[in-house]
């Protein structure tokens, strides 16, 4: 059984493909928000979604961990596979999926609890720690990965909401990695941050790439160019172009991509 799954994975994950989306359509009521998107996201790489506002990049991102399920009028068609498993299969519990696919949101949203509790919450509800010592260890590891350990180690029991914006966002990243996800989705993680905090988070994203497959939605093309290896350009719900970041920014194939990155549309 184990072997079969392994084989199955090996077959579907040529070149280490982590997420593959085929013919994804998303509707908000009558509004067709995502039109037939096919994309393959590789493991241990940063993939950036760029495009003008309202082009559907965030919507698509939220399909990957089924956050769109919480919106009543939202309907998703097509299939998205993680490691070859259809995440919209009837047997999939979105709760289990979200433990595997972590998410960082646009606005830093720490729980109004202590820094420690913020990070420990995920591991606690998933039963990742058997005792307090293990939990402490997980929290420290996550905060170190979130590159915020040195700043907060002396005040782990201070409220997370008392941190600065950039610190809060790194805390949220630490919270997301504490549950040991395989994929990390980031929805414009730096849009509420100043340049210094942005630089810190970008640096962090680059480090996270060693362990996770990272998908980042961003409005800043410079950011996409700085942090990602692969870039997807969305326009009006269509995936216009998808390829290596270098190529997209230097030699785009589609005229729409070229207009966008050169600032003529969007």
């Amino acid at each position: 059984m184990e072997d079969m799954i392994q084989m199955d994975r090996a077959m579907s994950t040529e070149q280490d493909i982590k997420i593959s989306a085929n013919g994804v359509q998303v509707y908000y009521g009558e509004n067709h928000a995502i039109k037939d998107v096919n994309v393959e996201i590789q493991d241990k790489m940063v993939t950036a979604f760029i495009g003008p506002s309202g082009c559907g990049k965030s919507t698509f991102l939220r399909c990957i961990n089924r956050m769109n399920d919480t919106i009543d009028i939202c309907r998703v068609e097509g299939d998205i596979r993680i490691d070859g498993e259809d995440i919209y299969d009837a047997r999939v519990d979105p709760v289990q999926l979200r433990a595997k696919v972590g998410m960082v949101f646009q606005k830093p949203n720490p729980f109004p609890k202590s820094i420690y509790d913020n990070v420990a919450y995920g591991p606690k509800i998933h039963g990742l720690a058997r005792n307090k010592a293990e939990l402490d260890e997980i929290v420290e590891k996550a905060l170190r990965r979130g590159a915020i350990w040195d700043e907060v180690k002396d005040r782990l029991h201070a409220p997370g909401t008392g941190l600065s914006g950039g610190q809060q966002q790194r805390l949220c990243i630490a919270r997301a990695v504490a549950t040991e996800p395989e994929v990390l989705l980031m929805d414009e993680p730096c849009s509420a941050l100043d340049p210094i905090a942005t630089a810190q988070v970008e640096e962090l994203i680059d480090e996270l790439r060693q362990n996770y497959s990272v998908v980042i939605v961003t409005h800043s093309m410079q950011q996409a160019a700085r942090v990602s290896q692969r870039t997807a350009f969305f326009h009006l719900g269509n995936l216009v172009e998808f390829g290596d970041t270098d190529k997209i920014f230097t030699n785009p194939e589609d005229p729409r991509t070229e207009s966008y990155i050169s600032g003529r549309i969007g």
Binding site: M67, D72, A99, M103, N109, K113, G122, T161, C172
Partner: protein, 447 residues
């Protein structure tokens, strides 16, 4: 350009900002007027509030004191225990009427040496009709004291009490068959001697209601107990049902016609007159379910119906006020919907829920109309704990219903007690609001 003064210290283009133009003047005047209206409105409300409080306190405070007569009654063996064998059953055979001569005799000796045109028989009009019962209860409790002279502290009649409080004057008694002006002369002398005193009346706070002819004996204690039992029922039912319903509607229910209909109906229910809930309680709980009439459980159930919409509305409002990003954050780390609600949303909504609940309870505490319909106005003459007021299923009254009952009785002494009852009720409401504020602070302090 044209009116710029070349080389001058002030270079103005167009109008100077040092002068107000007419539009700005108008706007400033409008703003000042609006502020004036606001201050006037606050002053008017403050005036009403102050006059309300002054009226309540000045009318109600006398109810908390009562006039007593200290009387040495000789417990005559010949009258109380003819056979002299202290048989309790035989002593009990002497009714309160049989104690009248003893009390009269005591009054005669107490007023010894005071000039009065009153006959000895008429003297006991200064005492409450309860005097005989007080002495009898004492004798039955201590039969071995028969034959001794015992000092009693007996209630005066409501007229005498009114005279001591300045409510009754001699002219009022001209056509009053309960008391003569001559009695008041007696009282004056007795008060000088220290035999008649006005002291704090614990019986008003802990006692029960009394019959219409003895306002001096009436207290609010038993109906306070009835209100307390009702509040327990309301709290135990309305809080869990209301909070569960709101959480489901706000967090889990799909948005469709059916839930819209429920929502509209809940808002409408909050505006339904309370007497409608009263008649509903009468029909459902008493006539259909055959629960006992006048019982706090029925009152509690009826008030629960009335309080539920308030709790549901305030709970939903406070759940709505929790930012959606908190739910996203919880779902994002893999919490289930229920975990997200119970671990994160509910604690944040708690202060609002508690405030709403306590406001709902306070509303229920002050509600009278539904209680009239389910019969919670009957007066209960027996004192707690021996009496009929020991539980949820026994007939009882409630504070606002008791106040209403007193206010509609003829004797002005009851009117005074109605005001006193309002003070007690307001103190309860103040305490509840204080608890609401403290709880709110407590839960908000967490972050």
């Amino acid at each position: 350009m044209t009116d710029a003064t070349q080389g001058g210290p002030i270079r103005t283009k167009g109008k100077s900002i040092l002068e107000l133009d007419t539009r700005t003047k108008k706007r400033n005047a409008a703003e000042a007027r609006f502020k004036g209206y606001g201050i006037a409105a606050i002053c008017v409300s403050l005036f009403f509030l102050v006059s309300l409080l002054v009226t309540i306190v000045s009318n109600g405070v006398p109810a908390f004191t009562q006039t007593f007569v200290n009387l040495s009654v000789t417990l005559d063996e010949a009258k109380l225990d003819k056979n002299g064998n202290r048989n309790i059953d035989e002593i009990k055979k002497v009714s309160t009427f049989g104690y009248k001569p003893l009390i009269n005799a005591a009054l005669v000796s107490a007023t010894d040496g005071i000039e009065t045109e009153l006959t000895d028989k008429d003297l006991d009009k200064i005492l409450s009709a309860s005097a005989g019962a007080v002495v009898r209860d004492h004798v039955i409790a201590n039969p071995d004291m028969i034959g001794e002279t015992v000092e009693f502290r007996l209630l005066t009649s409501s007229r005498v009490d009114g005279y001591m409080k300045g409510r009754v004057v001699r002219e009022d008694l001209a056509r009053d068959k309960n008391l003569d002006a001559a009695h008041l002369d007696l009282i004056d002398v007795m008060a000088e001697r220290g035999a008649v005193q006005r002291t704090f009346n614990w019986d008003f706070i802990f006692g029960s209601d009394a019959s219409e002819s003895r306002p001096e004996q009436a207290g609010i204690g038993v109906s306070m107990l009835g209100s307390f039992f009702m509040m327990l029922v309301v709290l135990a039912l309305a809080l869990p049902i209301g909070v569960a319903a709101s959480i489901y509607l706000e967090e889990f229910a799909p948005q469709n016609r059916f839930t819209d209909l429920i929502e509209v109906n809940i808002s409408n229910l909050a505006a339904v007159p309370s007497i409608v809930f009263g008649i509903l309680g009468l029909a459902v709980f008493i006539q259909f379910a055959h629960l006992p009439q006048s019982a706090p459980i029925v009152g509690g159930l009826t008030l629960t119906l009335m309080t539920l919409p308030t709790i549901v509305i305030s709970t939903r409002a406070s759940l709505k006020a929790v930012p959606p990003s908190i739910r996203d954050a919880a779902l994002g780390v893999g919490a289930s919907k229920m975990q997200a609600v119970f671990h994160h949303v509910l604690p944040l909504a708690m202060p609002g829920i508690l405030t709403g609940t306590i406001i709902g309870l306070a509303q229920a505490l002050g509600e009278t109309a539904p209680l009239l319909l389910i019969g919670m106005v009957g007066y209960i003459a027996t004192n707690y704990p021996e009496g009929v007021t020991s539980g949820f299923l026994d007939p009882n009254s409630a504070m606002p219903a008791q106040i209403y009952e007193w206010a509609k009785r003829a004797d002005p002494a009851f009117y005074e007690r109605a005001w006193g009852g309002i003070i007690v009720l307001l103190l309860f409401l103040l305490t509840m609001n204080l608890i609401a504020i403290i709880l709110r602070r407590r839960f908000e302090r967490r972050w």
